[in-house]
Amino acid sequence: MQRQVALIKQSLLDQGYLDEQFMELEELQDDANPNFVEEVATLYFKDSARLINNIDQALERGSFDFNRLDNYMHQFKGSSTSIGASKVKTECTMFREYCRAGNAEGCLRTFKQLKKEHATLRKKLEQYFQLARQAGPKETARRPK
């Protein structure tokens, strides 16, 4: 089971959903905080949902205040680096480029993509954590066979 968990994680990394920040988080996990990574991820998805909402609203208004949008995205990007959400981060960067270029169409398109990546990552991580919990704490894997 542990192996399965490890494989899933590896594939997430390989496919670029996550980057080494995720590994760093795992390093931080210890006895004092055995579910640290999951807690962080939960926090991230909660907060990022709020940010996505803000941006959605801003875009719906149709006024395209690029400065403001850029600001939101800056926040979002910062947040996404926290768990190593690599693909999401890429979309953020692209969005900001479009903002700077004043390209409303580009912004809309990118944001759609961003939301998709965000949702995908969320699902994958949920699966991952569920499995990880089932597999039990990592220490058990070191049980001598």
Binding site: L43, H74, G78, T81
Partner: protein, 500 residues
């Protein structure tokens, strides 16, 4: 192990509006064996800091926060509390980093932040302490060879390198000095409490400076005497004076920059700060523009007279005004009123800056007085033809207009330069001024921590609080390092020494 300084238990205050990062940083810092306090709001952080002044050793703050600009927080903390501050951001753009450094950040970290980066933040705290020691030493007036004075040998512990004060100190030696201080009960530097410069205290300070003004011999001792505050030490006054001068110099630069609009990034600032913000925004222009214009077009704004080209980018003095405002125990509200004073006095043909509420109180002329004579006594007077000239007002108006930057003559930059020079360092024109000015300017921005004085006449004053990255230091050829302490300048005047 040396007694005195240990990274363990370093008291860190982390400020970040992103809850995810706050959680991560807390964990990381705890893993470094630091004592961590987290805070999601800048205002809250300031409150915490002010409440218990000696409660924290270092502050780490994000740059982008909704309730207050990270740079503003940085200034508040630096000026009021004199704590080292590290900035963080996901954005590593040079101009932002530069801005951080200009505002006194001792480091600028990029997110995602790694453990290894946090493991070494304690060096900033140590460095700061060492600087404080040097500050104090530097406050002794009168002569370059105070190291050999008997009453000070205890600092050196005897048999130390006498050139200690002249050259850039060896880190170990500095540490030793610091530790000696701490173990020496008679040492005034050990565990000195931080002085909080309240409004009243600062007023006294400014009044004292004004009084001395005309003589322009405003040295810490005289100021202290005039202030007549029994518990205040000369060292306290000296370091405050240093900051004050830096603040004024930033105001001056701000005057210049005020005219440059340009790609204004919409920064989040509270409505109350609107006026200052607008100043900030106006002042903050596309650095590329500025930099390139300054390099390519000698007659454009950012320039000093052709001899001395500024190639650095200047930013945001209004932020420093506001930082000073916070010396008043307000809740970081930057009152519009002072800003108005700033603007109107600026426009009204003030040849010299007098924008801070403090300075405004004590009359703009103070500064002028303080400065005028200094020009005369300083270097080549023609450099410093004070913009009492007719041009001032016209230019200022145009500046505000900002649509015609080319109209701005170098007189305006003369303004800044001269004022800065009078306040701070006198650069002999005989030196390769262009280069030096650039470096000097750069050093001002950097808070000159790394500038050591190698030139004989200067004592080893270390300037402000924050350290700069060593790489910056290495960019400066040693002969250009100056002890850039305002006191030096005064000392120079006092002793009639100035480099000409």
């Amino acid at each position: 192990m040396d007694k005195g300084f240990s990274p363990v238990g370093l008291r860190v205050l982390v400020v970040d509006d992103d809850p995810t990062w706050l959680k991560i940083l807390e964990k990381m810092l705890k893993k470094c064996s630091y004592e961590v306090t987290t805070c999601g709001l800048a205002r809250e952080a300031l409150r915490l800091l002010r409440e218990r002044k000696d409660r924290y050793d270092i502050v780490i703050s994000d740059v982008n926060m909704p309730d207050m600009d990270g740079f503003k927080l940085l200034e508040h903390v630096g000026l009021e509390l004199d704590l080292p501050v590290i900035m963080m951001s996901v954005d590593g753009e040079t101009k932002r980093v530069m801005k951080g450094v200009q505002h006194g950040a001792c480091d600028y970290l990029l997110k995602p932040i790694r453990m290894k980066e946090l493991k070494i933040i304690w060096q900033h705290v140590l460095r700061k302490k060492l600087q404080e020691v040097r500050d104090i030493e530097g406050c002794y007036e009168g002569g370059a060879d105070w190291f050999t004075r008997n009453d000070e040998t205890h600092y050196l512990g005897g048999g130390e390198d006498v050139s200690f004060g002249r050259k850039r100190k060896e880190f170990d030696f500095e540490k030793k000095l610091l530790l000696q201080d701490e173990s020496d009960p008679s040492s005034s530097t050990s565990k000195k409490a931080r002085v909080v410069w309240s409004f009243e205290l600062h007023q006294k300070f400014v009044n004292a400076v004004n009084q001395i003004g005309c003589d322009h011999k405003a040295g810490p001792k005289k100021i202290l005497d005039l202030m007549n505050v029994p518990w205040l030490t000369r060292e306290n006054v000296a370091s405050h004076l240093q900051k004050y001068r830096l603040y004024l110099s930033r105001l001056e630069k701000g005057k210049e920059l005020k005219c440059y609009s340009g790609g204004v990034k919409n920064m989040d600032s509270p409505p109350k700060d609107a006026e200052f913000s607008s100043l900030i925004h106006k002042g903050e222009t596309d650095p590329k523009q500025l930099a390139s214009s300054s390099v390519s077009d000698p007659s454009s704004d950012v320039h000093m007279p052709p001899k001395a080209k500024k190639t650095r980018v200047e930013f945001d003095p209004p932020i420093s005004s506001s930082a000073f405002d916070s010396l008043i125990p307000w809740d970081d509200v930057i009152e519009p009123k002072p800003t108005i004073l700033y603007e109107s006095s600026f426009l009204q043909q003030q040849p010299l800056p007098s924008q801070s509420p403090y300075v405004a109180n004590s009359a703009p002329t103070l500064m002028e007085d303080e400065m005028k004579p200094s020009y005369e006594t300083c270097v080549n007077a023609d450099e410093f033809l004070m913009p009492q000239d007719k041009n001032s007002t016209v230019i200022l108006q145009d500046l505000v207009d900002l649509s015609a930057p080319s109209v701005i003559s170098s007189n305006v930059t003369n303004d800044t330069e001269t004022m800065l020079r009078s306040l701070n360092w006198e650069l002999p024109e005989s030196h390769h001024s262009g280069f030096i000015d650039t470096d000097l300017d750069f050093s001002w921005i950097q808070n000159e921590h790394f500038l050591a004085n190698t030139s004989g006449n200067f004592q080893n004053f270390q300037f402000q609080d924050y350290s700069c990255s060593p790489s910056l230091l290495s960019e400066l050829p040693p002969h250009l390092w100056f002890g850039n302490e305002p006191e030096e300048y005064t000392l120079m005047i006092d002793n009639g020494l100035f480099i000409s």
